[in-house]
């Protein structure tokens, strides 16, 4: 039996809506950097990026690299394509021990599905959307 490989969903036609609070994330993504907003006042990471720290209500953030991520949970979707083939898509939640409380909703790609487990360490790469680079992850 063939080993199923998770692949990233096709997002080339996705126009990512941005606002003043999410723009720095996408700017960093264009440079190939994953940065998350951390409250300058209390150190709390907030997600998604927004105008207030939910812990202290401060507005000021420092965009901070969170370190390596791990799989918090995932699901497996099998999508039938027009040519009859099946694409295996694995949407996941990526947690960062260095950024407590943040879970990115992102897909796992380029990984055999039997290697995908809760707690597995992942490394970052990028998938092109119409106007943004989308973070995707591979099990290391």
């Amino acid at each position: 039996m063939n080993i199923e490989i998770a692949t990233a969903p096709d997002v080339r036609d996705v126009d990512v809506p941005k606002d003043a609070w999410t723009q720095p994330f996408w700017d960093a993504a264009e440079r190939g950097e994953l940065l998350l907003p951390r409250c300058v006042n209390c150190g709390h990471f907030r997600w998604p990026p927004g105008p207030f720290c939910p812990r202290c209500r401060s507005q000021t953030v420092a965009w901070t690299a969170p370190g390596a991520g791990q799989i918090y949970s995932f699901t497996i979707l099998r999508e039938k394509k027009d040519d009859g083939s099946v694409q295996v898509i694995v949407p996941a939640l990526i947690a960062f021990p260095g950024a407590d409380g943040v879970r990115l909703i992102a897909s796992i790609a380029a990984t055999p599905i039997d290697h995908i487990n809760i707690g597995a360490s992942v490394e970052l790469s990028w998938s092109p959307a119409k106007n943004a680079s989308i973070p995707i992850f591979r099990v290391t």
Binding site: A8, P9, V11, V14, D15, V16, P17, K18, D19, W21, T22, W47, P48, G50, Y72, S73, F74, T75, I76, L77, R78, I89, V90, P91, A92, L93, G101, V102, R103, L104, I105, A106, S107, I118, S127, A129, I134
Partner: protein
């Protein structure tokens, strides 16, 4: 094997207040006096009726059931974005409206319409509130919720991760984490579905009635691993309506009154946007987000989980039944899988759940069928009657806040 689960030590985890009078501390002055429903249709099969035609039929049936005329209605309560009050009053010839409100939720607010209705009655704002829930999924398919969403800066992540379907895909993330954390197996989810199917075997109006075996469950195609098609609720067209009036007036009407002993809509802020957010604190992630509502309801009614005779739990996805059993204190955190597999939710179990077959096997009208079943159980007229049922718990969907619930009493 189910007796050991009854009367658990858990009762004390909810700070139960002594009951001040028969119907609770600050509610019980309102009662459900009328129930009306259309037949339940598979998605698309209610055509050519419009959704307002379905609503009208349910509303007229509810008034007739109560022994009232639709013109006695002077209040409207909705959830899930509601319906047009003006169109309803024109269509049904309702002479005046003194209250019209919508719970600011989708399916999470279903039981919350009883909270709005009770408030309107208890404060004297309205005399008879018509509560309405309806869906016609040929025009608005809930399973494609995410695809239908207008992309926002905060909401684009589901799309870019490939979650283009609906809440079933994101609740699959919750289910897998729960299985991982507590060693729960798919057999537990299967039992929730099989139990619902056992209840519909004798229900003519139910949309899925064939008994279900574990082998058949396991053969069902995976839609969002670990959730298979049978873990997902039905897609239904239909409408239900309820009439709520004062307890005093209820005693003179056609049916045995069913009192609203407790009702709440709200929730913990940490639950937030729920399956649209998925950043709930770790302990809350593997819950149904209902602990806050559970505490409020038990405090209002002055009772605990051991006093509930039948639970009508919003079952859009089978694992959420198990998580609600934990949130509402019927079993301990993480033990919900073993609890259901002990037979606890069956007709003679520790806490019968959804004897109408729920959203999984009877019909999905966004929580409304659960209220109907609670009323029938407390009138003593249910098809799968729980003997001597006195208290029924009804929940709204595990969904973005406000979530909701109610305890009804005869």
């Amino acid at each position: 094997m189910t007796g050991g689960w009854r009367k658990p030590v858990l009762r004390h985890i909810f700070s139960v207040q002594p009951r001040l009078w028969r119907y609770g501390i600050n509610t019980g002055q309102a009662a459900i006096v009328g129930v009306g429903a259309t037949p339940y249709y598979f998605r698309g099969e209610s055509a050519p009726q419009t959704i307002y035609e379905l609503i009208g039929k349910a509303a007229l049936a509810a008034a007739a059931d109560a022994g009232l005329c639709i013109t006695d209605v002077d209040g409207l309560a909705f959830y899930a974005n509601g319906f047009e009050p003006g169109l309803l009053t024109e269509m049904l010839g309702i002479p005046e409206i003194n209250f019209a409100a919508t719970v600011a939720a989708q399916g999470g607010g279903s039981a919350g319409i009883l909270d709005l209705a009770a408030m309107a009655i208890e404060t004297g704002r309205a005399k008879a509130v018509l509560c309405i829930g309806a869906c016609q999924q040929s025009t608005r398919r809930y399973g494609l919720t995410f695809a239908n969403l207008v992309a926002t800066p905060n909401g684009i992540w589901s799309r870019t991760a490939g979650l283009t379907g609906g809440p079933g895909q994101t609740f699959a993330l919750v289910a897998r984490r729960y299985m991982h954390k507590f060693g729960v197996r798919r057999e537990a989810f299967a039992e929730v579905v099989m139990a619902s199917r056992a209840y519909t075997a004798n229900r003519p109006g139910a949309l899925r009635r064939k008994p279900l075996s574990l082998d058949e469950y396991m053969a069902s195609p995976m839609l969002a691993d670990p959730l298979c098609r049978l873990d997902f609720c039905l897609e239904t067209d239909g409408a239900l309506a309820f009439i709520v009036t004062s307890a005093e007036r209820a005693r003179d009407l056609a049916q045995r009154p069913v009192y609203i002993a407790a009702s709440a809509h709200g929730g913990s802020g940490d639950w937030g946007r729920s399956f649209f957010w998925l950043n709930m604190p770790d302990a809350m992630f593997t819950s149904a987000g209902a602990e806050h509502t559970a505490r409020r309801l038990y405090q209002q009614a002055g009772i605990g989980p051991a006093d509930i005779d039948v639970a009508l739990l919003y079952d859009h996805f089978s694992p959420l039944v198990i998580l609600q059993l934990e949130d509402y204190g019927f079993c301990r955190r993480g033990e919900g899988g073993d609890f259901v597999q002990s037979g606890a939710i069956r007709h003679n179990g520790a806490i019968p759940v959804n004897p109408h077959g729920g959203h999984l096997s009877e019909a999905y009208v966004i929580g409304m069928t659960h209220i109907r079943e609670a009323v029938e159980q407390l009138r003593g007229t249910a098809i799968n009657q729980i003997p001597n049922a006195q208290f029924a718990l009804v929940t709204g969907g595990p969904a973005p806040i406000p979530v909701s619930g109610a305890i009804l009493q005869n």
